[in-house]
Symmetry: C2
DNA sequence: AGGAGATATAAATCTCATCTATGACCAATA
DNA sequence: TATTGGTCATAGATGAGATTTATATCTCCT
């Protein structure tokens, strides 16, 4: 059955308008073309589909049966095309991003707001998780892009470096005497240290750094969120290792201050992860462009 | 939007099989052809529909949305094609016949039985009515064919003469003395006559016939069905004017006998009516062939 | 390293959908 | 009754584009 589905479109319009000429107009064809197409369909099906009269065409019984099916089919295709246009124009669709809590809150939020304002039809799905989880989500196709702390080495992933983050140690008024001083790592370790929980990338980074200088950093307190790091430091429970940009408000208002060190803490980068060799959804592409 | 719906068929199979090569096989095309078609569809929609991998293709988010619509659409087309095949083969469909009660019962019944046995999937619709009603039904497209008593003159109708009917006068044992005799019309009119009701064709025919011989026939009793004509004659209420073929059983068993006349009653014909210049449904064509 | 599978690309081919031109038919006018 | 304006059908010419063949590229698996 090498049926050309194009014929059904012609049939649909002929039946709908009750006129081959009108169908031709609707399809931007000529009347003989439509006439020929209908004849072809009739030949292939082995049935007469229309009565031809001097003022148009009318469906036969059998044509009417066919129409009841084809009409639905055509409506679905029309809906599909509308949906596709909507997806293309970002009037519809969804954007699924994976990232850590803190990155969402402190880094992505303004972009997400901006994106949502510009494309209110696109649904946002934010998936929180650790870096390995994010990568798994990405590989399983459950998110369109991941936002994580660099570096990442994975052959399947496309990485785009974005924003630069600077980590630092901060304290509250309880340790006010340290303001303005420059501490060595050994001196710093005299004070109670508050770090993010063990499995985070920032934690791993700072642990390695201290080791490379011959020190071992053991936190007094371990917490599970950036907010708690900030809160604990403010209340004088210790010195927190945080990302400077994530506490800029506290630094400005003076509820926290940065501890100067005699070594330079290496900057970290935020990386935007996508699957290599896989096309981005239109929504994801739109978002990538926005944060460029 | 000069969208070739054929592309959706290709898309459907590519998505369904998850492989352009397999889709090509299913569609009796080559792989490059399918590859090209998909690319074209993607270009027209402005969206990427598939991820290409080394072991086939997989739908993108947007492709999956499209598929949800197209799948339904294609299924409907498949169903439509199956239905059309069934209609063509008379595994399905309906046959709508209009006719008089007596013609159905005495003339059409065996054909209808035969037709139903041969094409059990075709539904039969029998519409009873007078000749003018039948013609109206036909012109309104409510029946496929009409079975009526000839003659009919109507430019819009196609008439096919069929069976020949012979009308005659019959009586029961009450008038046994007439058996074997040959009566003139005048003699016949001495007896009470039972005729079919005024609007029937048979009634009009016999009235005209008597008039052409200078007589006027006025029935003692008028009835509305052939069955009553028979019953009344049997019970001796008068002499009924009936179609010989419709009372063959009674003539055989002797409960009625035919009255011989000195004039010949003209035979009537059964005509099969269809609309001129309008294609017959497959079912109707099948039936016409059967009763040839 | 090589083979077997997948898809992509390029250029040549040829089908067949479409067009123009015309005919035939019908209905409603003048 | 002839005319006009609408319908669909038919025939032949044409050209766009679908399809094919041949080849490249890539990935996975042995």
């Amino acid at each position: 059955m090498t049926n050309n589905y194009e014929l059904y479109k012609v049939f649909y319009w002929a039946a709908k308008t009750g006129s081959l000429s009108q169908a031709a107009k609707a399809l931007y064809l000529t009347q003989p073309s439509v006439s020929h197409a209908i004849k072809q369909l009739e030949d292939r099906l082995g049935l007469t589909l229309f009565y031809r009269t001097s003022k148009g065409v009318a469906l036969t019984q059998e044509g009417a049966v066919l129409y009841s099916y084809i009409e639905q089919s055509q409506i679905l295709i029309t809906l599909a095309e509308e949906k596709m246009t909507a997806l293309k124009n970002l009037d519809s669709g969804e954007l699924r991003i994976g990232g850590s809590d803190s990155l969402f809150k402190h880094y992505l939020l303004p972009y997400l707001e901006q994106f949502h304002e510009r494309y209110p039809g696109v649904k946002l799905h934010l998936n929180h998780g650790t870096t390995p989880e994010i990568i798994t989500f990405l590989k399983e196709g459950r998110i369109d892009l991941g936002v994580i702390r660099m570096p990442i080495v994975d052959a399947q992933l496309q990485v785009r470096e974005s924003f630069q983050l600077q980590d630092c140690f901060v304290a509250g008024s309880r340790y006010g005497e340290l303001k303005g001083k420059v501490l060595s790592l050994a001196e710093l370790l005299q004070y109670p240290i508050i770090l993010f929980s063990r499995n985070s990338r920032a934690r791993m980074g700072i642990t390695e750094l201290f080791q490379s200088y011959g020190h071992s950093i053991k936190p007094e307190i371990e917490v599970g969120s950036v907010d708690l790091l900030t809160e604990f430091a403010k209340r004088g429970l210790g010195i927190s290792y945080v990302t400077r940009q994530f506490v800029s408000k506290e630094l400005e208002e003076g509820s926290l201050f940065e501890i100067q060190l005699d070594v330079t803490l290496p900057p970290a980068h935020v990386g935007i992860l996508t699957m290599k060799n896989m096309p981005l959804s239109t929504a994801a592409r739109g978002f990538m462009e926005l944060i460029r």
